[in-house]
Structure formats: structure tokens, C-alpha cells
Symmetry: C2
Subunit: 192 residues, 2 copies
């Protein structure tokens, strides 16, 4: 998505060879008009599919998924909750996700009421890097026997293993921008 690449070059900030900060439009301050462009593009990518519900994870995915929903007929959005690894509840689907950023494992939960057998679920999130959060969301969908239509990602770090882990599991992955590398402060996007 050309407009997203331009936005990243204009507003993103690079740190070292693997960190891209986009907190001025995507995950702290939110550019709502631009999120609508992102939502429109997700619809374009998945226009051949019936989507019953969008699943995301708190906190950064919520705005993206909510605005995107409007381009899919305002289907319900469900956000999975991150919680510390205790406090098991029988009425939830739960999975464990290891965070490399935080160096620890956490639990991700969704109430069983909000993922149902045979529903067509689109997962949306802001970043894909090592893929652990995305695999966790897939696991929640699988537990509910709903149907994972695909995963839509705003920014993929193409130099990490997320895509491979998802594709070997048969997941359809659509990333709106893919970073092939960050070298000396310069971002190289994958040419598609």
C-alpha cells in the first residue's frame, strides 16, 4: 500500500536496525482518517471473502479493527485481552503468547460467548514480527471452531519469522506494508 509506505517514511521513526516507531499515527496517537484508508485496503484485500467478525488484541489493534469494521458492513469486533498468566476462567478461550519485547509469557483470553463455531473470522493487528501474537489469535479461533479467513497486518517486519510460521500453518496473510530491512536508519520496503 503505497500511501502507507509514504506515511511510514514521513511519520515513522527508526531506531537501530529493527525498531520502527509509528506511535504518532498508529499506536499511541491515532490518525483516524488514515485508519479509514487502511480499513478500505483491508476490505480490498479480502473482498472475495465473507467476514462475520473481526478479532484483534488489545491495545493497539482495537482502533485499527474498529475503523476497518466499517468497511466490512460494521461487523462486530472482538478484542482479546492480555492478562497475567493466572486467574483461569472456564468461560474463556485462552492461549499463551511469549513476548520477545517484554521477555515474558502472558495469557490472551476471549470470552467463549464472542467466538462461535463456523463464524468467519478476520484477524487484524498493527504489527507482525515473530508472529507469536498472531499464532495465539489463530489458536483462539481454532479452539472455538470458528473459521480463520485470514490475518490482516498493517506493518510486517519481513526480516522476522512471522510470515513463515503463519504460512506453514496454512494461514492467509495480507500485510499492507512489508519492511525487508532497516539499514543505517533507512527503511527498505519489499517490492510486490
Amino acid at each position: 500500500m503505497r500511501a502507507l509506505e509514504e506515511k511510514i517514511l514521513k511519520d515513522g521513526r527508526v531506531s537501530g536496525n529493527d525498531i520502527l516507531k509509528v506511535d504518532n499515527f498508529l499506536n499511541h496517537q491515532l490518525d483516524i482518517a488514515f485508519l479509514n484508508e487502511i480499513g478500505k485496503e483491508f476490505k480490498e484485500r479480502f473482498k472475495d471473502k465473507k467476514i462475520d467478525k473481526i478479532l484483534t488484541i488489545e491495545a493497539s489493534g482495537i482502533a485499527i479493527a474498529s475503523i476497518a469494521s466499517q468497511h466490512f458492513g460494521s461487523v462486530p469486533v472482538v478484542f482479546a485481552k492480555k492478562v497475567e498468566s493466572k486467574n483461569l476462567d472456564k468461560d474463556v478461550y485462552e492461549t499463551k503468547v511469549y513476548s520477545f519485547t517484554k521477555g515474558k509469557e502472558y495469557s490472551v483470553k476471549v470470552s467463549k460467548k464472542y467466538l462461535n463455531k463456523d463464524e468467519n473470522i478476520l484477524v487484524i493487528d498493527d504489527f507482525l514480527a515473530n508472529g507469536r501474537a498472531a499464532i495465539g489469535l489463530k489458536d483462539l479461533v481454532d479452539q472455538s471452531e470458528a473459521n480463520l479467513v485470514g490475518i490482516g497486518i498493517v506493518i510486517e517486519k519481513g526480516f522476522q519469522e512471522g510470515r513463515e510460521l503463519l504460512e506453514t500453518r496454512g494461514v492467509r496473510l495480507e500485510s499492507l506494508a512489508i519492511l525487508d530491512s532497516i539499514e543505517n536508519g533507512k527503511i527498505n520496503f519489499r517490492q510486490l
Copy 2:
């Protein structure tokens, strides 16, 4: 807001004499079409005011604020982050909020880049009960020398002290539904 009261009666679940769960449309599963009705009503309540930015707090406020922004010309949304009370960063405004639900204090932070002097800020959140989170958000706005235009709340627990604490601080508060009491599973709304 009559439609919201009807939605609460239809979809909300009451527990004891002070808990109302609305996780099937407001804070776990999100009814995006209904959030647009809420956003429209916030615009109606604040139509006399210039709003430059909407401030909310993760996680439940994010969807509400993002959808509402579209009714205010898609102004930027900033969500304050809840973090454990360590990890001080010089580039943030920070305040402490005591959570009665969790029985502990946590820090709430916003990057200094995203709240600026003289900006007109509307705070939006899902619930108002004892008012501590709202006062924390007001404190962040005050630290930045921005102008707090008002606070928009979806559901106010009118039997707790939030409104009094905010009004004695001169805050304009607009709640779309106010619960006067919950008795024997029945919700009594304040007649306005």
C-alpha cells in the same frame, strides 16, 4: 440517550447491586454501528465547542473514541497507556490512578508529543464510577497546559462519587446514560 438505555436493558447483564456488564457491545465485543450512534450523540452534546483532539485510556476507551472522532471531523485520538508504576520516562506526562476494582495504584502515561499547550481536548471513556481514571486524564491534560473542554462518558454510575469529584474541579461532564441504582437486578436510569 434513549437508544443507549434500551441497549443496556437489552444486552447488559447485572450482577449484585453495583455491577453492570456490557461486554457484548462496549468493552470486549464491540457493536461498531452502535458506537457510531454514541459518537453522533457526543458530537451533539459538544457541538458548541471546538475540539482539536480526543484523549482516552486503554483499552476500552479506544474503540469508542476512535469511532467518535469521525463525528468531530476525524480529529486525532490519543490513548493514555496504563503501566506499572516503574519505568519513568522523561518524555511523558504521567499520573497515578487508584483502581478500586483491582485494589492497586497504577501509572497512566501520555507522550508529551501528543498533548500540546492550548489544544482543545475532549476526554472520552466508557465508564465513570469513582472518577479516578477521569481525574487522572484531567491531570495529564493540565500538565500539558492544554484545555480540557469536557469529559464524555458512555455509562455513568450515578450512585458513585465520580460526577461530584469532577464538577467540583470545574469539569463539564456529559454522560450518555446515568444509572441511579441497581436494585434486585433492575436498573434505574436517572430521568433527565
